[in-house]
């Protein structure tokens, strides 16, 4: 289903600041501890200390997906000159499985905003093949759009975001 202008991702400008408008194609379930993440949920940095369990949908195990976790509001939402900060990068995730089965190229770094309330977005891309995605050199100034272009990931197939402070 394509994104309506009232979709949370659009309203909060994740679609806009981080990615372009896309269609949700497969399911993406992110769980921190006992908490299932729905768009816009507010968490504290203490609640996102450890990496979440992520399960994705789809049907064909031969399709591989990449999960990107970024914070576009670094160092502060009013002045995000370090946009974006890459917290986690997992590639080669087979459909219907989760990040545990993928390749953690950039290890999970817990979001710890010092100023303001930051959006933290988890975005799922479909890879064209296995081992076609590589890690960037730095975490800061990451650009999801560029990243997707370089590795031919196209538009996202799923995304979810949370607020963190």
């Amino acid at each position: 289903m394509s994104l309506s202008p009232r979709d949370p991702l659009v309203v909060v400008r994740v679609v806009g600041d981080v990615v372009d408008p896309f269609m949700r194609l497969i399911s993406l379930d992110v769980t921190y501890g006992q908490r299932q993440i729905t768009n816009g949920i507010d968490l504290r940095s203490s609640q996102v200390l450890n990496k979440p369990t992520v399960e994705i949908g789809g049907d064909d195990l031969r399709n591989f997906y990449t999960l990107v976790m970024v914070d576009p509001d670094v160092p502060s939402p009013s002045n995000p000159y370090l946009r974006e900060y890459l917290h986690w990068l997992v590639t080669d995730i087979p459909a219907t499985t989760g990040t545990a089965f993928g390749n953690e190229l950039v290890y999970y770094e817990n979001p710890c905003p010092t100023s303001g309330i930051h959006r933290v977005a988890l975005i799922l891309f479909r890879q064209i093949g296995r081992q076609t995605v590589y890690a960037p050199q730095w975490r800061q100034r990451f650009n999801t759009r560029e990243f997707s272009e370089i590795y031919n990931l196209g538009l996202p197939v799923a995304a979810v975001y949370l607020n963190c402070q």
């Binding site: 009232r6 979709d7 949370p8 909060v12 400008r13 768009n39 816009g40 949920i41 939402p77």
Partner: protein
Amino acid sequence: MPGLESETSTFHVFNHDLQTQLQTYPQETAVEEHPPVGRQNSIMSLTLDEIQMKSGKSFGAMNMDELLANMWMTVEENNGGGAGAQQDGEKPTIVPRQGSLSVPVPLCKKTVEEVWFEIQNGVQQPPPSSIAGQNPDEDNRRQQTLGEITLEDFLVKAGVVQEPLKTTMKMSSSDFGYNPEFGVGLHCQTQNNYGDNRTGYNENRPFYSGMGESSSCMTGKERSDQYLTGLNAFRIQKRIIDGPPEILMERRQRRMIKNRESAARSRARRQAYTVELELELNQLTEENLKLKKIVEENEKERRQEVMNRSTQITKEKNGDKLRRIRRMASAGW
């Protein structure tokens, strides 16, 4: 927050500035504050010519000390006339305590004309950092003759009075009364010349404006005590608090814009969350309906099953009965 200080209305002792300030802060009770201000300002905004005419004396050759003495006398006369109805014969509270205003030693013995001369020469070398927009003003003032300069300007330039104070607008008029001599007197005690005045005042300013924010009803006496102790307490802040009005406006605007953006983000967050919740709610109710249907259908099926079973059983029973009955019948003769 930097914005807060500049957002408290700058409270000027002097009339003409007060008007502009009132315009930029319409939310303050401008009408309320103006009348008491008017009285206090009256002497300050008069030109020296006018004061001379009023008091019938000529200031040119006077010492600074004498000038000040005459000033207060003129104020007294004015107030005596205006406040006569309220305070019969008593000295009105607004008459400044003469002890608090003392001209620094180097200045006090000079005549007014000498001081004016120095001012004019001093202004010839304006600091290069002054903003272009201000230079025309300075030029105009320079060209004023001694008589045309207002008392406030003269005192400011002479270094007797400092730039206008900043406090909250919400001062009561009684507090107000303390203000003029308060600001005037204080720094006189500490500085010797204009240059020193500036740095000294800036030192005081952060403390004072911080205070001004929180104390809208402090009495003048309290303030004077705190002001005195705060005198040497703070170093110059990097921030220009007493700067050209354009910079202050800019800073205020920037703060306002940032605030708006933050508010917009907050609203977006809230909206996104509620939309998400609504979506979830719809999803869940749909699911709920489906599940209920399924449950119902299952129930139906089971009942059907049970019905079928029972009819089957009865049929069998009937069948059995018949058989039994037949056998009985065939066993007969």
